[in-house]
């Protein structure tokens, strides 16, 4: 039987060996905080992450290839299913690409309807982020507030488009149908409620001591790295870069509104969170301005029933709640797209996680992933 001192010695040597052995932690694909089906393999040294390897593709449906087999009008339904939290923003990206290729002038009223719905969708998406991010950081209450407000927007969408998600409401050259008669009154009521709700949410979580401890100074990102990684949207703005496609390359009628671009300073998790709270206020202001300016008129441009764009290729950008959505559309002059490449913001934003997690604590991995606000339907397509 070995003596006590010999046992002590053995434990000490194994300990020494253990500390140099990397530990592998597998997060996902089924994990409540991965926001979909996403796998992250973490290599640890003590509590620090030395390497993070993201694995995606669990939701790959081949949307880009499917687009090649559908007529232009049918493709819109596939875009609904990419960013399934901000469907209307996705739809708009494709419609704008076809309109640019065909040179269609979309009527003013259609643009106002599109803008109001897209901004509402942005608020709904950020409300979801608010709730889920709170939960990632350990706060259980925000999800109830976030979902309650999102629900109001969803029910308004239902009255307009007939669906809570997967709306298929935007058309090439306009929108599907006129708004219901009670829309202006309902919209005004909802905007008022949302304004109060944003302040309520802000008071509830933003300055919370425990929340600040989990997010302040966690995995900051510099503007140079963000640009090099192709990071866009709220995450790029949180690094201090003033960039918003709605302002820098204005599309639609965004140049008619007066709104600000919130930017952060350090690019940490708290900045990424607070940018989105501030964006909700700006979006609500855009909605109010748009509702005030909107006039009656046509909602669909005059065009042939079956869209047949000329031969050519366009790349169109738009600002979705997650960042810069690029649609690269190649047409051979036929009734179906020849090639559609969608540059989705979540795809590039997620790629930066490897860089952001290097040297971070393993306990922060969930918060960092949550702060990116990825949608796996958009990452995998």
């Amino acid at each position: 039987m070995p003596s006590v001192s010999a046992i002590m010695k053995i434990t000490q040597t194994t300990r020494a060996a253990d500390s140099s052995v990397d530990m592998m932690i597998n997060m996902g694909p089924q994990h409540p905080s991965t926001h979909g089906v996403f796998r992250l393999v973490l290599q640890l040294e003590g509590e620090r992450i030395v390497h993070a390897e993201p694995h995606i593709g669990y939701l790959h449906r081949g949307s880009e290839k499917l687009c090649e087999g559908e007529s232009y009008a049918q493709v819109i339904t596939l875009f609904d299913r990419m960013d399934y939290v901000a469907n209307l923003n996705s739809e708009l990206g494709f419609c704008m690409a076809v309109e640019k290729l065909m040179g269609i002038e979309v009527p003013d009223r259609a643009w106002y309807i599109r803008t109001i719905l897209c901004e509402l969708n942005r608020v709904a998406s950020h409300m979801l982020f608010y709730g889920v991010f709170g939960m990632d950081a350990g706060a259980m209450t925000p999800i109830l507030y976030g979902f309650r407000e999102r629900e109001k927007i969803q029910s308004l969408f239902e009255s307009v488009t007939g669906a809570r998600m997967m709306h298929n409401y935007f058309r090439i050259g306009g929108v599907k149908e006129e708004l219901p008669a009670d829309f202006p009154a309902r919209l005004a009521g909802i905007v008022d409620e949302l304004k109060r709700a944003v302040e309520e949410c802000d008071r509830l979580l933003t300055g919370n001591e425990a929340f600040l401890a989990r997010t302040r100074g966690i995995s900051p990102l510099s503007a140079e790295d963000a640009i090099d990684f192709g990071v866009t949207g709220p995450i790029l703005r949180s690094t201090g870069q003033i960039e918003d496609v709605r302002v820098s390359e204005p599309y639609g009628i965004y140049n008619r509104f007066d709104f600000g671009i919130p930017v952060g300073s350090t690019g940490d998790c708290w900045d990424r969170y607070y940018i989105r709270i501030e964006e909700m206020r700006q979006s609500l202001s855009i909605i109010e301005q748009a509702a005030g300016q909107m006039e009656t008129g046509e909602i669909q441009a005059k065009m042939r029933r079956i869209a047949r764009p000329p031969k050519g290729e366009v790349y169109v950008r738009s600002e979705t709640p997650r960042g810069d959505l690029g649609v690269f559309l190649v047409s051979d002059g036929g009734p179906k797209p020849y090639r559609v490449k969608v540059r989705t913001p979540s795809f590039s934003n997620l790629q930066a996680i490897q860089h952001m997690l290097r040297g971070a604590y393993v306990a922060d991995a969930v918060v960092v992933l949550g702060s990116l606000d990825i949608i796996l339907g958009e990452v995998d397509r």
Binding site: G57, I227, E313, V314, Y315, G326, F328, R339, K341
Partner: protein
């Protein structure tokens, strides 16, 4: 007896006359609509790359630069580092299958200069290889892995070309036009 239109199988309906093929509408090219900034950039690029074999053109509203395949990383690095161009943001990297050839598109944008451009290069349809640009923009990493998955393009010098969107052991390149559409085996 072989089943031909002249010899329909017993009990079958006689073959119908082939309907006249519908005349396809004439295909027109999209008009060029380059704005002032684009015209300026176009002349700037033509002036800067006199020592390279580049072909400056227009794609609807965007300046396009067609380059030789092996010069892609060098030209991309110059596009990024040249102060008057400063293309610091690779918006998208995509492969298009034209059956007889593949085309690779690098959509660039410059945050400081606020102009945009697309670099194009032609690849052979068989065993396409192009040098990687991950050394120029780190965002190219996943785009190139996606191009490798879906189109079988080999990005020479890429740090890790393991499957990204497809699973390990997937056979074929589903982005290609030759890949069957709704024809798959249940598993």
């Amino acid at each position: 007896m072989p089943e031909t239109p002249e010899n329909p199988p017993s009990g079958g309906k006689p073959a119908r006359a082939v309907p006249p093929t519908r005349r396809e509408p004439k295909v027109e090219a999209a008009p060029e609509a380059l704005d002032d900034a684009g015209i300026e950039l176009s002349s700037l690029v033509s002036g800067l790359f006199t020592d390279e074999k580049v072909e400056v053109g227009v794609e609807v509203d965007e300046v396009s630069v067609r380059v030789a395949l092996d010069r892609v990383p060098a030209i991309c690095a110059r596009m990024k580092n040249e102060p008057s161009l400063a293309f610091d943001y690779l918006r998208s990297l995509s492969v298009v299958d034209y059956v007889d050839r593949l085309e690779i598109n690098y959509h660039l944008f410059s945050y400081p200069k606020r102009h945009k451009l697309v670099i194009k290069a032609d690849l052979p349809a068989q065993a396409p290889v192009v040098p990687t640009v991950t050394g120029v923009w780190r965002t190219a990493n996943w785009f190139e892995r996606e191009g490798h998955d879906l189109f079988g393009v080999n990005f020479a010098g890429h740090p890790d070309l393991s499957p990204l969107l497809l699973y390990e052991g997937f056979e074929g390149h589903p982005g290609l036009k030759s890949y069957p559409f709704h024809d798959y085996d249940e598993w």
